[in-house]
Amino acid sequence: MTESASTMVLQLQHLSGHYGETQALHDISLEVREGEIVCLLGRNGAGKTTTLRAIVGLLARCQGKIEIHGQSTIGLPPEAIAHLGVAYCPEERGIFASLSTEENLLLPPVLKPGGMTVEEIYELFPNLLARRSSQGTKLSGGEQQMLAIARILRTGAKLLLLDECTEGLAPVIVEKIGQVIRLLRERGFTVLMVEQNFRFASRLADRFYVIEEGTVVDSFRQDEITPNLERIERLLGL
């Protein structure tokens, strides 16, 4: 395979998985190629977050195929999957209360070359520099979200999984996060995001998968949205 824009970064095939006794994923197949922004859409409880958790190895029981850069990750522990160049920003943000803002930022170890430097990150998020000695959880919701994204940019991971990173934030912050994600694409990052805010995602992502009851029920490119708007909105219950 050549180092082109079409290099496969992530591939799921017929993935199913369980949360305890309940089957949360039935049959998920999707692909993410290098430099793409791919968005998972769907109603609450459809299995979007579970899909991301399965990719980073946090879902104990999975069957099917997950490949990252061609390497199968089913059964690998999360710390081994991280070394393949995947980083995860969870929906609840996961800012550590016992760590300062800067400690939170510097916590994830650098695993590969090519990540952003601390200076570049502070340039991108000046608020974090101003509040670097504050307790992580004392930041505003928007700042915590910035911090949660910022800290996975240093590690050298080029595939970022962002779960609902605009949830509950003011429009001006959502706008800022949109700018950051566009900038990340320019910097060569690949993004798989989960988003409830379809208006936000529709202007940002290249391709979309709609998930319902733990399976992929539809997929389309950004330029297919307008002609199919009615069908998509019905699928999403908008």
């Binding site: 980073v56 190895g57 946090l58 522990p77 999360p78 710390e79 999957i81 991280a82 070394h83 980083a87 995860y88 969870p90 996961g94 550590f96 209360a97 016992s98 760590l99 400690e103 510097l106 916590l107 994830p108 170890p109 695993l111 996975i152 590690t155």
Partner: protein, 293 residues
């Protein structure tokens, strides 16, 4: 000035000193328990036995090979720490996903088993351990043996060093973060299971280290751990489970309170810590430094 509050000054200073000595051990031991509970959420009832093992290894080293105290201070914690490593790796690790009471029961059982084996092999009588630092300093009101000052000093340095390591360093930040959200820290590429194993081994080695320090002061006997651990658990309850700095301060503080009680009301000395514990549970159940729920 021979008396203070109607008590001879020499007796007062002497008991405060003994209080600080006992407090040194309370502090080191409750610190280890706090680390284990904070990170692994395991109440380590084997901690007293692991302390006894430290003293026993020191005694065996001296008795069998003539290896002295200073080497024992290095070797015994490593030996006891490795035994902790094995306990975590082969037993505790498989219980984390169950209710906390299972791990607690395992450590209770391990403690009883190890204590029983030691009694079987070495008998129940105590063995004396020679004082490695003879002499002392005459403070005119009282005589202070060098070894006791050494114990207080080392306990302070080791406890505060451990606190600094956990609270102020990068590796400590991993421990604090893993305490809050181990799964997320794993997705950052940090091998949290290995970190938990090493943390348990370190805290257990700390108990072994305390045991070596205790050997020249108390007798080396199979029961020395179970006698101490009950008081240490009371100290942990008073200080607040899981707080590192809290357990250090509470350990020394309660040692001194116990010593002073011996001066002013000797009959109460053996129960005063438990009285404080009961009051604390009634007034502030999460302890002095614990997080209020």
């Amino acid at each position: 000035m021979d008396t203070l509050f109607g008590v001879p000054v020499a007796a007062l200073i002497g008991q405060v000193l003994i209080g600080l000595i006992n407090g040194s051990f309370y502090s080191l031991m409750s610190l280890g328990l706090a680390i284990i509970f904070g990170l692994l959420h395991v109440v380590n009832f084997a901690h007293g036995v692991q302390y006894m093992l430290g003293a026993l290894v020191a005694w065996v080293l001296l008795d069998t090979w003539g290896i002295n105290y200073w080497w024992a201070l290095l070797i015994a914690p490593v030996v006891v720490g490795l035994s902790g490593l094995a306990i975590e790796r082969f037993f505790l690790r498989h219980l984390y996903h169950l209710d906390h009471v299972y791990a607690l029961l395992l450590t209770v059982g391990m403690g009883i088993l190890i204590e029983g084996l030691v009694k079987f092999k070495f008998g129940i009588g105590g063995q004396p351990y020679p004082n490695p630092m003879s002499g002392g300093v005459d403070l005119s009101v009282t005589f202070v043996p060098w070894y006791r000052l050494w114990v207080i000093g080392v306990a302070l340095v080791v406890s505060l060093g451990t606190w600094y390591f956990i609270d102020r360093t990068k590796l400590g930040a991993y421990l604090r973060a893993a305490n809050e959200n181990p799964n997320l820290v794993r997705t950052f590429g940090v091998n949290v299971p290995r970190m938990l194993m090493l943390t348990y081994a370190f805290a257990v080695a700390l108990a072994g280290f305390s045991g070596v320090m205790a050997a020249p002061i108390y007798q080396v006997s199979p029961y020395m751990g179970s006698n101490l651990i009950i008081v240490v658990f009371a100290v942990v309850v008073i200080g607040g489970m899981g707080s590192i700095l809290g357990s250090i301060l509470t350990g020394f503080g309660l040692g001194v309170i116990e010593g002073l009680t011996k001066v002013f009301y000797p009959e109460g000395a053996s129960v005063v810590i438990f009285v404080v514990m009961i009051l604390m549970l009634a007034v502030r159940p999460s302890g002095l430094f614990g997080r209020q729920p």
